[in-house]
Each structure stands twice: as structure tokens, then as C-alpha cells.
Subunit: 290 residues, 2 copies
């Protein structure tokens, strides 16, 4: 088995990399206007990541392509998605495919085969329960892959169902977290982490602290920083005493931090990555000192 | 606005078509072995549907492509998916895209744009709550599209979360159903149905009767008949007194009803469609007499 996703990410963070994930949400209107301006949408996207992904090498452990922004361009968009994943891996970046799939067993098998071809980890919807997870969990166990299951989403209406009480002192979010813990039992890397992680939005810092305690063996993937309102300063409780256990994702604030006609967009990205990773290294290290 | 999905489907059923949906799950190993045997996977899939979809014209109101079985073939698979949707619409079949997407607002907007380009209706995951629905609901209201929200899935572990009690005499499934009802309020076609429907598995007939009562304005999309164990005879409670309100989907039992080397596969499909639609017409009509 190749080095597992969790082991690889933990190793990078222990070597000093920030626990940072750069989100890849290729909105056309936010791409540099002068980069391949006459090309078709999918080619503009690929041209952008061909320049950007090598600049992230050695600065963050992983990227998170959001497949919706590729699907909107149809089959050429999917080809661009596959090429983006390839470019990321070539730049030594782990790929967390933000695909949020979730379906019955035989369909889940097809999704697992489809998405682990391009990615080291995927995000999943838990609503269908354990049998929708099995094809993914098998690849976690056998191929070192990982999953991040939606437990507490970052959006404003997250609580509509996730806050519902499902018994005494337990919400649906808690029940999902408990399932994530169960699904990950019996597989742990050298740092004690399982390949079954949880998505927990940065926009709910109180939930974050509670879920960290409830999920001692799960990596938390934390979206919602920046454009969605989550603040890095609130995320310290997500990390364990070694600075491990959480990956913070930011999309618009990094690769869409410039005006499309700004000729210095590469410098803007470099500066945004520097600021994001510096803040996160400090945060993760403060956890390590606690 | 073009005729809405719900109005179109209701019209077909009132004209005498069965409330039947043929699922398109293109498993390679189940395609006719002699049809384009040397072609690439995506081309074999397209060749199959190019023959099959015209044979469904006038016999069922809709088809349900399951995108996972296309995604597994990468970008060419996506091109085959788009071509399949085009072929279906050309054969006067409404397309219910079984994509089960569900994401935060800005991503949901991309998914809605991506999938309503090819489809008349889509299936959605509700876990993120109302703001993940809004881009889809807007297109239901303005463009006559429809959504089917997962309320009770057909798989064995459906109850792991969906059966959780969320207050007195109310399960998570009930809470999801109540949300489907709310999300559909204020938009109804000439038969009183809203564009916000629910997915309810045929494998849970007791739930089906309960949910029909709880969702008076929602079309129910009912998968799980056949290979998954659901029985058509159990589905009468899903229909209203006019024989409307439910669409029953079958996949493996129709377009995978033959051995791959059977040269008479076209006849087998015709016979399977005939049996499926005959049973369903009788069921829907029995509802109409009640």
C-alpha cells in the first residue's frame, strides 16, 4: 500500500507545512483576464491551474477541487477537472475531491471507482448510512485513501436539519459524528488517525470544539474561512496537541484574491498563500504547545 | 415558460401512459455483447441508448440516467451522458437526472446550471437545508423544472439516520418530508402538484403510505423496485385518486433484463417494458378508482 493520505498530510504538517488546503473553484469571471482569453472555458481553467499549481508545491499539503465548477462546463469541464487533478499530483499536492457524492451501494461503487481515480480523498454525503460508505471505506483500508463525511456544513441553513435533536443532548450533527467515528474504527495510521474524516464548517466554532472532542481519531476538513465568514483565529480548538487533526480550506480568498485584469495576479496569489499559511502555521503550533 | 415537468408527466399519465421511469445505469458488463464490441466504453454506452431510447418513445413518460455509471468513464463518460440526455429528449422522454447533488449556495448554483442544461428534473441531497436548494427552486419556478429530494432512500441502511427520532412522533425522514412540503409551497400546476418532489424507496411500503399523506402536493419518485427488492404490488398507496403523484423507477429489471450474449435483447427489453408498464397502469388506475 502507498503511504496513506492521512499519514502523508500529517508528515507534511510535522515538517512545518501549514495545515492548509487551497480550494479550486474555477469561476470563469474570476480567472486572470489576460490568460488565454480567447480559449474555450475548459482550456482557460486548465491554463490557470497549469500556472498556479506548481506555485503551491511545497507550500500546502493539499488542494480541494470543487467539481461543480468543472461540471458546469460539461464534458470539456470534466476533462479539465481530470487534468487539474493530474497537475496537482504532479506538483506533489494531495487531491481532496470535493464531490459530495452519496448513493446506494452499487452506485456508490461506481462513484468510488470514478473519483478515487483522480483523487486521494473525497467528500461524501452520509444520509444513506453505512452501506453507501462501504465502497469508499474499502479503498481507504486497502489503498490508503481517505474520505471526509459531511458532519456540520458551513452554510447559513446548515442547522435546518443538522441541529435537530435526535435524542437527549444529541443533534443530528452529533449522530453523524458518532457514525464517522464508528466507520473509522479499526484503521489508524502511526499518529492514531483514521481515514474517515469529517467536514466541519469554520462558520460554527462552538461546534468545532465539541466535534473535535467527539471525533478523537478523525481529521477535520474545515471549509468556510474567508468569503463565507469563518475566521482562522477561531479554529485553534480543531487541532490536537501536535498541531495535527485539522485541515483548513480556503478558496475564494486565495485563487480569486485578485481583480481579473490585475497583471500582477501571480504575486497576489503568492502573497495570499503566504498570509494564509503563516496564520495557520501559528495556529497549529499554538495547538502543539497546549 | 415551457410546459412544466409535473404538468407534462401528469398529462401523459392521464392519457394512459404508465407512471413508469426507466433507469439508465449503463453497466458495461450488462450491455449487449455484440453491439459495438470493439468501441471504447463511452461509445458502447451511447450506441446502446441510441437503439434503446427510441424504443421507449410513447411507452413511458421519463427516463432516469444515473450519472455515476457515466462518471466512472471520465470525460468521455460525461460526453456519453450528455448525448444520452439529448437522445432521450429527442425521443420525447423527460429526463430525471439522478445526480444526488447537494452543496452550499454558490456551488449549488453551479450544479443547477450544470444539470438543468441536460435534464428536466434532478435528484438532490437535502442535508444542507434550504439555501442549498434555492438555485434549483428558482429554476423550478421560472423554467418549469422539478427536483426530487431524498426523503427515504431505498437502501438497507437507509434507517441509520433517516429513522432517528427528531422530536415526538417524528423521524428525520418526516422532517425532510415536511421541508419538501414547505419548499414547494406557492407553486402548483393545474393538478395541484408542486415542482418539489421526494425520493421514497419502494423497499419501505409503510413509509410510502405515511409520506403520501404527509406530502399531498409532491410527486414521489420511487426507486428500488426489482433488483433492490421493492414490489410493485405494494405501491398503490403512493398514488392519488386520479392515478397521479408517483413515478416508479426500475433500472436493472428493464435495460439489463437480458444476458449480454442474447441476440434477442431488443425483444427482451420490449417485453420487460410491456410487463412493467402494464403492472403500473393497473396499479395507478386502481388508485384512480379508490
Amino acid at each position: 500500500m502507498p503511504q496513506s493520505f492521512t499519514s502523508r498530510v500529517a508528515g507534511r504538517v510535522l515538517e512545518g507545512l501549514a495545515p492548509a488546503v487551497v480550494g479550486l473553484d474555477p469561476r470563469l469571471e474570476a480567472l486572470p483576464a489576460r490568460l488565454a482569453p480567447a480559449a474555450a472555458p475548459a482550456e482557460r481553467i486548465t491554463a490557470f491551474y497549469r500556472e498556479v499549481l506548481p506555485r503551491l508545491r511545497g507550500r500546502v499539503p493539499a488542494v480541494k477541487p470543487n467539481i461543480a465548477f468543472f461540471e458546469v462546463h460539461g464534458a470539456p469541464g470534466w476533462a479539465a477537472y481530470e487534468e487539474t487533478c493530474r497537475l496537482a499530483r504532479a506538483a506533489d499536492l494531495a487531491v481532496i475531491a470535493d464531490v459530495k457524492r452519496g448513493d446506494v451501494g452499487s452506485t456508490a461503487e461506481a462513484y468510488a471507482a470514478a473519483h478515487f481515480r483522480h483523487a486521494d480523498a473525497v467528500t461524501l454525503h452520509p444520509l444513506l448510512g453505512k452501506d453507501s460508505m462501504l465502497p469508499f471505506l474499502e479503498r481507504c483500508r486497502n489503498d490508503g485513501r481517505a474520505v471526509f463525511v459531511l458532519v456540520r456544513t458551513s452554510n447559513p441553513s446548515a442547522g435546518e436539519f443538522q441541529d435537530l435533536p435526535v435524542g437527549p443532548a444529541r443533534t443530528l450533527t452529533d449522530a453523524l459524528a458518532d457514525a464517522v467515528h464508528r466507520w473509522g474504527e479499526g484503521v489508524a495510521d502511526e499518529h492514531g488517525y483514521s481515514p474517515v474524516g469529517a467536514v466541519v464548517g469554520a462558520t460554527w466554532p462552538a461546534e468545532l470544539a465539541r466535534l473535535r472532542a467527539r471525533l478523537p481519531a478523525a481529521w477535520l476538513l474545515i471549509p468556510g474561512v474567508g468569503a463565507q465568514g469563518g475566521r482562522i483565529a477561531d479554529l485553534a480548538p480543531a487541532f490536537d496537541g501536535r498541531g495535527l487533526g485539522a485541515l483548513v480550506a480556503q478558496s475564494r480568498g486565495i485563487l480569486q484574491c485578485f481583480a481579473p485584469d490585475d497583471v500582477e495576479w501571480r504575486d497576489r496569489i503568492d502573497a495570499a498563500v503566504e498570509a494564509f499559511t503563516k496564520d495557520l502555521r501559528a495556529l497549529s503550533a499554538s495547538g502543539a504547545g497546549s
